[in-house]
Amino acid sequence: MKRRGRGIACMWYPIGFTVSANPSAATVKVNEDGTATLLTGTVETGQGSLTVLGQIAAEELGIATDDVHVVSADTDAMPMDTGAIASRTTYVTGNAVRLAAEKAKWILFEAAATLLGVKPEQLEARDRKIQVKGYPQRSIAISEAAHRAQVVLGQPPIGSASWNPPTVAMDPETGQGKPFSTYVYATQIAEVDVDDETGEVEVLRIAAAHDCGTPINPMLVEGQVEGGISMGIGFALQEQILFDGAGRQINPNLTNYIMPTSLDMPEIEVDIVDSYDPTGPFGAKGVGEPTSVPTAAAILNAIHDAVGVRITSLPATAEKVLAAIKAKQAQGTKGLLRNR
């Protein structure tokens, strides 16, 4: 018989490296027509980071996502980057990109200031225009400012910058210190069906509420959450590298190493909670890794809720769950006998 259960798990997770420096650098070049090119040394590994970095550059320059072309991943031509690791790209590389765009923007402000009859400090970039703060009627197109900067004044609007999260080393005796600049938080709640005759677990639904600071691109955050949950399900229920007695893997293939497919995916409801981190670019933190952190814990708690057995070693395969159910039933029977 299928028994339904629910389980909750929450987590915290840091952004960036533990204490050690993990800087990123970036270069933003505004073209004569007000479009821009972003150079970054990070690599798109499928998470959509280049889109997010482009949005950050665009936001700082007051232009649209499509106005920024992002070039990446060539050590000959790109500024250094610690890379796609530690959920750091949006936060660390994002901060570098924002600072680089800010420098390029300042050159645009200087070019626009004389035309608008104000000081550069009085300007802001918005909706593809350079405009006077508090008096947006006085503005010029960003293309005009960019063209003037490069072609008239001979000052191409290019900015380069780097950023590294501030940390404090940990005391070797007590571990006290500030190993990370910031952390994100999340809760996932899983609903499962456990078949008490086969031990098979089906994950029906997961409600996932995540903090990533202010999301730069909510759609890509949702994509990360869904992908992270699929990895979490595999970790919870199926995946395991097995070794023979001589230390050789016995299932190094996708026939015998079982991982979730689209058919195993539950209904996922993603919420991004309101959050703003003043240390991140436009309030953003990160989201890559944390999405798969609480999934297994939530599923295992749901299994316990459903059939009353606590599996303390992953993965909770059907065999393992069934063995635990049987052990519990045997104990229950013994208890009954004793009570009689």
């Binding site: 590994t45 996502t65 609480p294």
Partner: protein
């Protein structure tokens, strides 16, 4: 007859004949045919709107994926390109007595063979340089590479590595991390200890707090070794130019550090090494450090041709990093109203044969192991241990999914014993703005309780259960 037609004839006759000499295979067209796709693009409105931040902007690479136009490493081909294969040890711990490559070298179509002794600096690693590019004197786990071949085709290279004869002297091995901790256990990297990294966090007075606690809970939790399983396996192409610069197209997610590792192993100045990454087909932490790049570079140097290497799925499992199995002992003291007053955690990480990203994983796991809870009295100790198994390294979460499984399992056990709702006990102990972390850091922008309440609301946690 036109030139184009001749090429077509040649292709046809080659496929009709039984696969013949390597020379025929070389003349097969190596460049994929152009695919028609619309160049006039319609940009979605969401990419044209300002302000840019907060927009659900579509990804430019999504269009390439959809049209099948994304060029992964295996989609790249260069004139005269060779294919490499690496021979894997298949034995977990051994001394290499000899490597006989003569038969492989004599095979038609084999252009070069490489062994570990030919690598200028045969070690790498992000914190400890304990991993050979190709094992030269000793084998530390079954997935170690011991020799490599560059040949005209992948098939010839695969056949050639079978012809390489390696004579091993088996050494005692250890596979269980708890056994590896013992003084008398075989030392994986003798004479060094099997414990290659450890970390401690101490806060408050744990013993006194346990003495005051109304209830104490103890449990051991274990997790398994898993693979990242990216759709695209590790792949790279290396080639040199006449100025002695090497260019490597690779699936690495971290090219700045990859370049440093390649330059170090090849003993080259950094400005003579160029790493180019394409869109990587899945990383999840598994493509954070070099694997075969120096091997391909050296094979390319020997042959003067571009050399491509693509891991098989089997190599992806056995010869790249995996997630650390954890053994986690938790002891938690709780007051009768459900507040955690003391926690003691001991973590043993199965580090496999090499350190890789174990130090980072150990550090993060240690810091995160107490959970996102206000706990004044805490003692965490953690060890990363060598075993003669596949190396463990960076993987999405760096130890966090493992410790979360432990602290959240125990949280439910505590709630059940005290008759509390699992949501309420978490809200009672959760971090708040300004809470002190286990390392004494004052936390900012803490929205943990918001995530708990939001998920509970979305799930319908408080609604009556059917």
């Amino acid at each position: 007859m036109t030139k184009k037609a001749k090429v077509a004839d040649k292709t046809q006759s080659t496929t009709l004949r039984t696969p013949g000499s390597a020379g025929d295979l070389l003349r097969l067209p190596a460049v994929t045919l152009p695919v028609a796709f619309p160049v006039e693009t319609l940009v979605p409105e969401v990419r044209l709107q300002t302000p840019a931040v907060g927009q659900r902007a579509t990804r430019p690479d999504g269009r390439l994926h959809g049209l099948g136009q994304t060029r992964y490493i295996d989609d790249l081909a260069f004139p005269g390109m060779l294919h490499a294969k690496i021979k894997r040890a298949g034995i977990a711990a051994a001394r290499i007595r000899s490597i006989d490559t003569r038969e492989a070298e004599a095979m038609p179509g084999v252009l070069a063979v490489l062994t570990g002794r030919e690598i200028p600096v045969n070690s790498f690693g992000p914190s400890l340089q304990d991993q050979p590019v190709l094992a030269d004197e000793r084998v530390f786990h079954a997935g170690d590479g011991v020799a490599a071949v560059a040949a005209l085709t992948e098939q010839i290279a695969a056949e050639a590595i079978e012809k390489i004869k390696v004579e091993y002297e088996p050494l005692p091995a250890v596979f269980d991390p708890l056994e590896a901790l013992r003084e008398d256990a075989p030392r994986v990297h003798a004479p060094d200890s099997n414990i290659y990294a450890s970390k401690v966090i101490r806060k408050g007075d744990v013993d006194a707090a346990f003495a005051r606690a109304d209830h104490t809970f103890e449990g051991q939790y274990r997790t398994q070794m898993v693979e990242h399983v990216p759709l695209e396996p590790h792949a790279a192409i290396a080639m040199w130019d006449a100025n002695g610069r090497v260019t490597i197209h690779t699936t690495l997610g971290r090219i700045t550090l990859g370049r440093a590792d390649v330059a170090r192993t090849l003993k080259l100045p950094l400005n003579r090494v160029r790493l180019v990454a394409t869109i990587v087909g899945g990383n999840f932490g598994g493509k954070n450090e070099i694997t075969q790049e120096p091997v391909l570079a050296l094979l390319s140097k020997k042959t003067g041709r571009p050399v491509k290497g693509v891991f098989t799925r089997g190599e992806e499992f056995a010869s790249s990093t995996t997630r650390h199995p954890f053994i986690m002992d938790y002891k938690t003291g709780v007051s009768k109203d459900g507040r955690i007053v003391a926690r003691k955690v001991r973590l043993v990480l199965d580090g496999g044969a090499y350190c890789s990203w174990s130090e980072t994983t150990l550090g993060k796991a240690c810091i995160l192991s107490a959970g996102p809870y206000r706990i004044d009295n805490l003692h965490v100790e953690a060890y990363a241990v060598y075993t003669n198994k596949t190396m463990t390294g960076a993987m999405r979460g760096f130890g966090a999914p493992q410790v979360c499984f432990a602290y959240e399992s125990q949280m439910d056990e505590i709630a059940a014993a005290l008759g509390m709702d699992p949501l309420e006990i978490r809200l009672l102990n959760a971090f708040e703005e300004g809470s002190a972390s286990p390392t004494g850091q004052a936390l900012h922008s803490v929205v943990l309780k918001d995530t708990l309440r939001k998920a509970a609301e979305r799930f319908g946690w408080k609604e009556p259960r059917s």
